[in-house]
Amino acid sequence: MKEKPVLRVTSKLLIPPIMLFALYVQFHGDFGPGGGFQAGVIFASAFILYALIFGVDVARRIVPAWVSRAGLSIGVLLYAGTGVAALFGGGNFLDYSVLAHDALHGQHLGINVIEFGVGTTVAAAMVTIFFTFASQSPHDPEDLRDEDDDADFDDDFDDDLDDLIASRTMSQGLSQAGGAGGREAR
């Protein structure tokens, strides 16, 4: 990680605009393309980029497991809760028209709330899935070490493809996570 200053600096420059763009997509979704789903994915990609460059364990300190798991549930609860609130307001389930003094305002409020719920769940789900996958250590490192395939993989592509740096940075995180076994596998 320490020897990749370009990746570190550019990723730190990129992450705030990515998050800002996600918020724009989230709250501008009723005027332009976008909405909760896309915004959630973009917001999660900021954390995933951070995890790719700095390692999953460092990123997990920013988004601990309980945060992403809570976000996962809170989004669905917000969505379904809006439906129940409409029931209490005298309408049908998810009928937002009764949420405010007139129907259009109610619809606007309801759509914004449920889109925020969608965004929360999607962002938390993407972060959860990626972090869970990336913090796995290879099940049998011995099995991988003896394969020539892996050596080819490293030699052929290491210099050519920048994208591989990302996956290798991730595997550095993995080898940290996996301890000595993971490191031997490389």
């Binding site: 332009g32 393309p33 896309q38 129907a103 789900a125 993989f153």
Partner: protein
């Protein structure tokens, strides 16, 4: 002109799909799948479906590629060669199924036909009345969030279930078998870095 662009992109996508089948290096396959998704996103833009294009670019070309890379770091970089089974019956089944599918498309309305059934049912009401009934200028948002609110709630629940399933299968839970696979802790990591 637009039709030519669409057809060209469809051919390009078919070529990428064939390349995905041929190439054995899984890293290259992952990148090709990202390119496929990006081409699909461009195709959706050409078809004026910007919301779908947005999703395809973010999910298909972005997150999926990263998830594939994460999986790739757990497995080998080269696909195992398999014994090719060439059986005439399998070929016949595939050809007949493909032929029937193509025959099925002959009934479909022409590309861009305004009289197609899909444009006759509820679409006119969405286009004409959603401004008064729901409000947002983006009709797609009105449909997804309000007219089809149930469907979207189901989709969110599906995403929730997917993440919960991943957590249950391979996550390090507070209890259960994942607990035993714990191979690190923060103190070790900090010592390692300094």
């Amino acid at each position: 002109m637009e039709l030519a662009v669409v057809i060209g992109m469809l051919f390009f996508m078919a070529a990428i799909a064939l390349a995905i089948i041929w190439v054995r290096n899984l890293f290259a396959v992952t990148m090709l799948m990202g390119i496929y998704s990006l081409t699909a996103a461009a195709l959706y833009v050409a078809l004026d479906a910007v919301d779908v294009a947005f999703t395809e670019a973010a999910v298909g070309a972005g997150i999926s590629t990263v998830l594939m890379l994460a999986t790739l770091s757990l497995t080998k970089a080269e696909e195992k060669p398999f014994r090719s089974i060439q059986h005439p019956v399998s070929l016949a089944v595939v050809l007949v199924t493909g032929g029937v599918l193509i025959y099925g498309t002959l009934d479909m309305p022409a590309y861009g036909d305004p009289d197609a059934p899909i444009h006759q049912h509820v679409a006119p009401r969405y286009v004409q009345d959603s401004g008064q009934e729901v409000g947002p200028p983006n009709i797609v948002t009105s449909i997804l969030a309000s007219y089809r609110g149930y469907d979207t709630m189901g989709e969110v629940t599906v995403i929730f279930t997917a993440a919960a399933g991943v957590l249950m299968l391979i996550g390090r839970g507070r209890s259960g078998p994942g607990r035993r696979r714990k191979t690190w802790d923060y103190e070790d990591l900090e010592g390692d870095e300094r």
